[in-house]
């Protein structure tokens, strides 16, 4: 749209037609105070804090509802305006308790700030204040009515943003109050968005209230460790006697892919980190019992036993299980350690989506994966399978708000009447298990339509819909784990016929995509390079075995048959999560690395207490392929990061650490220039570092050293280091990588987590458990209508 020229406080400003005056002011750095205005929510015009003077208009105008028009001359600061704002604050404070010293919002309250800027020392109001005790509406949400300034932000974010509509306004005028949907409590998604958006301390959270004060915490921006969407979250930490304790999660930094959004897990479920059952000392099985020991003793034992097994029975007698929640650097290091040090390709992880098939289908198709930001901006979205509202809360938020704010067309195909159908242009219910037929039909296989036709949707309707989809441009195609193997190829074939179509393959955990990209597979190296066809990895990792290894089920069989003699389980719980018979572990030497004594750890010979993702640094790749930084926030004395543990085990096995982690100086002869392609791995690394303006890392425990190697060797990960370190998301691509592979579809076991569960982690979160218990007490929720 053409720009409109206006003058604000004497400054000439141009902004696109349709811009709100308050935004135009913000763009040029002029702050107009506001309470009820919130970007991307409907306009309210309730608080009148944003009053400004517009020439030729008789009275002061609310900047939040005024659309700019050509030639407007605006004053945002004058005695008249100051006086008006002062009166508004006085009105608001008329019934406000001013209990800042005991209020959670104290120190970061918008009303406090306004009272400071505009408040009067005295008030003309003599009426007694309306007191009301605070109310608990859910395990998460508390409401302190007298503090509420009736800006209605909470009502709008819950309805418009979340599509939950759990908050309303009762009565009118001065007696208006915010009310929950179940008279005295809430039945909702517990996202805490209402609490986050409340400008004052009226809505507070059960997780944080009365714990500390804002200025006593240190804030660390990192990435959520729960689902695969990768929200950027800010963790606030405070010193505790066992290290650093995380006391709050929020997203004060709204620059992330999630903008304003966080779900209950990202916002409140960090509490597993200080669960009482957290392991903080290595355990070694002695006379049948797991006995506390020292790290030195544990490393010595593991190093000796793994070396023995490898040297006696060969690397194929050891199996390694990686994690969906360790960082990319750790997953990469783990598979490198397995292949080079343990001499085995027997490495796998709990697979929740068919990324190898996705990589295979996309090979040679550059730029065909969509980022999480693309999902918010795409003109049209096709969603097959999954239930994003439950399993991918951020993705659901992006889709919903894209439809609401940009009028994107949404096509939903699902076997269930999932909640996102409410935003859909077209919702087609298909029978469970027919997703593959759908992909085939879309790709042009006419006979598959028979399986899709139902009473509600005729053959012609299907064909018409497919034509409609084919005519879309820039369609983002999102699919759940219902589609695997060759079905993914069909879908990609369909997408290839659409201009600028992009894809998202949905996995389940915070770094499932990273685990796959980093090669936690028996037959695939990082970047989906086949072990048997490894290209450059063969030159680099000369000592690696030739043939592919065993998948997790095959390892289990091998162990049951007594052939697999050693297990190394890192941040995974195959017994608890994949229902694997503990017997498979009973005759082997088992090392488990975890936060808790899980079903798997409890039968291990050595249990190593690991740090979680909030206690270490590195990177995560979300399900869309967005690479983000993970930063250390909390800390628990006695634990070590998986990275450090792996390096220490390699060291205990007598391996030259410099070959595992490219760190330190002095490992290069002549920076490789004189020997060209014949130069060694260390030389090549040094040349690459030099070319990218990077220094060799000084510690073998520095994950950035492995990130260097990942960026050098894994295609698709050549993103800007500067941006990444600055905390920006960087989209990686799958295309151009290795060829991927078509695996047995049954190897995929979806996590089936919902809004309030999160694998093993969720079981140790008090807040998630209390919400689940609370919901069981109440009758099933019936879905509510949209506005």
């Amino acid at each position: 749209m053409a720009d409109v020229n206006i003058t604000i406080d004497g400054k000439k400003v141009a902004a696109p037609a349709g811009t709100l005056l308050i935004e135009a002011c913000k763009n040029v750095g002029i702050e107009v105070p506001s309470f009820c205005y919130y970007p991307n929510l409907s306009l309210q015009g309730a608080c009148r804090m944003c009053l400004v003077k517009v020439e030729k208009m008789p009275k002061l105008q609310t900047a939040c509802t005024t659309v700019i028009s050509e030639g407007m001359i605006v004053t945002t600061n004058s005695d008249e305006i100051h006086q008006a704002r002062k009166s508004m604050v006085e009105l608001l404070l008329g019934n406000h308790p001013l209990d800042c010293p005991v209020c959670d919002a104290g120190g970061e309250c918008e009303l406090q700030d306004m009272a400071f800027s505009y408040g009067a020392a005295e008030s003309k109001y003599m009426e007694p204040k309306n007191h009301k005790e605070e109310q608990q509406w859910s395990p998460v949400v508390y409401f302190d009515r007298p503090r509420c300034i009736l800006c209605y932000r909470c009502v709008r974010v819950c309805g418009e943003g979340m599509d939950v509509w759990a908050l309303g306004v009762q009565n009118r005028g001065v007696s208006s109050i915010i009310a929950p949907n179940r008279e005295d409590h809430l039945q909702c998604e517990e996202c805490g968005m209402c609490i986050d958006i409340c400008p004052v301390g009226a809505l507070t959270s059960g997780a944080y209230r009365y714990k500390t004060r804002p200025w006593e915490m240190k804030h660390v921006g990192t990435t959520c460790t729960h689902c695969a969407d990768g929200c950027k979250t800010t963790l606030a930490v405070r010193r505790a006697d066992t290290g650093m304790e995380i006391v709050r999660g929020d997203n004060r930094d709204k620059s992330g892919i999630n903008g304003d959004f966080l779900c209950i897990k990202g916002r409140y479920a960090f509490d597993f980190a200080h669960h009482a059952e957290r392991l903080a000392q290595p355990l070694i099985r002695k006379e049948g019992r797991l006995t506390p020991s020292t790290w030195e003793e544990a490393f010595e034992l593991i190093g000796r036993r793994f070396t023995e097994i490898r040297d006696r029975d060969g690397g194929q007698a050891i199996g390694v299980v990686g994690s969906n929640r360790t960082t990319n650097e750790e997953s990469y290091l783990l598979q490198k350690f397995s292949r080079l040090v343990l001499q085995t390709h027997n490495i796998d992880h709990h697979r929740t989506a068919d990324f190898p098939a996705f990589a295979a289908a996309l090979s040679g198709k550059p730029d065909s994966t969509a980022s999480m930001r693309d999902v918010f901006n795409a003109p049209a979205i096709l969603l097959i399978g999954s239930d994003p509202t439950e399993q991918h809360p951020l993705l659901a938020w992006q889709i919903r708000n894209n439809v609401r704010l940009h009028r994107a067309r949404l096509y939903v195909f699902n076997s269930q009447a999932i909640k996102l159908r409410r935003q859909a242009t077209a919702f087609m219910q298909i029978s469970a298990g027919m997703e593959g037929k759908l992909a085939a039909f879309l790709s042009g296989e006419e006979s598959s339509v028979e399986a899709l036709v139902s009473q509600a949707i005729s053959r012609d309707a299907w064909i018409a819909l497919r034509d409609k989809l084919r005519s879309e441009q820039g369609l983002v195609i999102i699919f759940g784990s219902e589609l695997r193997g060759s079905d993914i190829s069909s879908l990609v074939k369909f997408g290839s016929g659409i201009k600028e179509a992009k894809f998202v393959c949905l996995g389940d955990y915070s770094n499932s995509r990273g685990a796959a990209d980093m090669g936690l597979y028996p037959d695939l190296l990082p970047g989906y390079h086949r072990v048997t066809d490894a290209g450059k990895f063969h030159d680099h990792w000369v000592a690696m075995p030739q043939a592919a290894g065993l998948t997790l089920p095959a390892m289990v069989d091998s162990a049951t048959a007594g052939k697999l003699k050693g297990w190394y389980v890192v941040g995974a719980n195959p017994i608890g999560r994949l229902a694997i018979d503990p017997f498979a572990f009973s005759r082997s030497f088992v090392v488990a690395q975890d936060m808790f004594l899980t079903e798997t750890a409890v039968i291990a010979d050595v249990v190593l207490p690991a740090a979680n993702a909030y206690e270490k640094s590195g990177t995560f790749t979300n399900t869309c392929g967005d690479l983000q930084l993970v930063k250390k926030a909390g800390e628990l004395t006695g634990t070590k990061s998986d990275f450090e543990i792996i390096v220490r085990i390699a060291d205990a096995m007598g391996y030259d650490i410099g070959k595992l982690v490219p760190f330190g100086r002095g490992i290069t002869a002549d920076m490789g220039q004189s020997r060209g392609a014949q130069s060694g791995e260390a030389d090549r690394h040094a040349v690459w570092l030099e070319a990218h303006g990077l220094e060799p890392k000084m510690s073998p425990f520095d994950p950035m050293a492995i990130l260097d190697e990942i960026q050098r060797l894994v295609l698709g990960y050549e993103v800007s280091r500067m941006d990444l370190l600055a905390g920006n998301d960087q989209h990686t691509t799958l295309s151009g990588g290795g060829g991927g592979a078509l695996h047995d579809p049954n190897l995929i076991v979806p996590a089936h987590d919902d809004l309030f569960s999160s694998g093993t982690l969720g079981r140790y979160s008090r807040i998630l458990n209390s919400v689940i218990e609370n919901r069981h007490k109440q009758p099933e929720e019936t879905e509510v209508a949209a506005d």
Binding site: W165, A166, L167, G168, V169, Q170, N171, R172, A179, P180, N181, V784, A785
Partner: protein, 160 residues
Amino acid sequence: MKFSDQFEQRFAEMLTHYPTKRSVLVPTLLFVQDEVGYLSDEVIEEIAQRLDLTELEVRNVISYYSMLTTRPRGKYNVQVCTNIACLLRGGEELLEHCETKLGIGHKGTTADGLFSLEEVECIGACSWAPAAQVNYDFHENLTVHKMDKVLDEYKKRATQ
């Protein structure tokens, strides 16, 4: 929930008047209230369902309008105006008189369920102040004496 045919007819017709269903909420509530006497939980559930609204939204609207009630009222709802014109011409005294006579206060209901009393804002009959409204009927230029007659009249009507 079952309503009268007359209501159903009216409801169906109203739906055709507006582009969105929710627009008929206020008149619907008023008509149902006339029929059922008040807006019970059951009514709220039914209306919310019919109009694709949340019960919370329906409750929010009811709470906004003082003419809508979620509690049963007497057969005759006596609404005495005490706004400025009526105030100047004895509205307050009229209200006090009703309170003593009926033995109930603002928003109260007599034990026999016959009368409810309410103090209301201007009912648009200022020219004939003081005024009161009983259900939908207006009574104007009232005095304490006239008010007695009005109330007796309703009582008689109820016993007939």
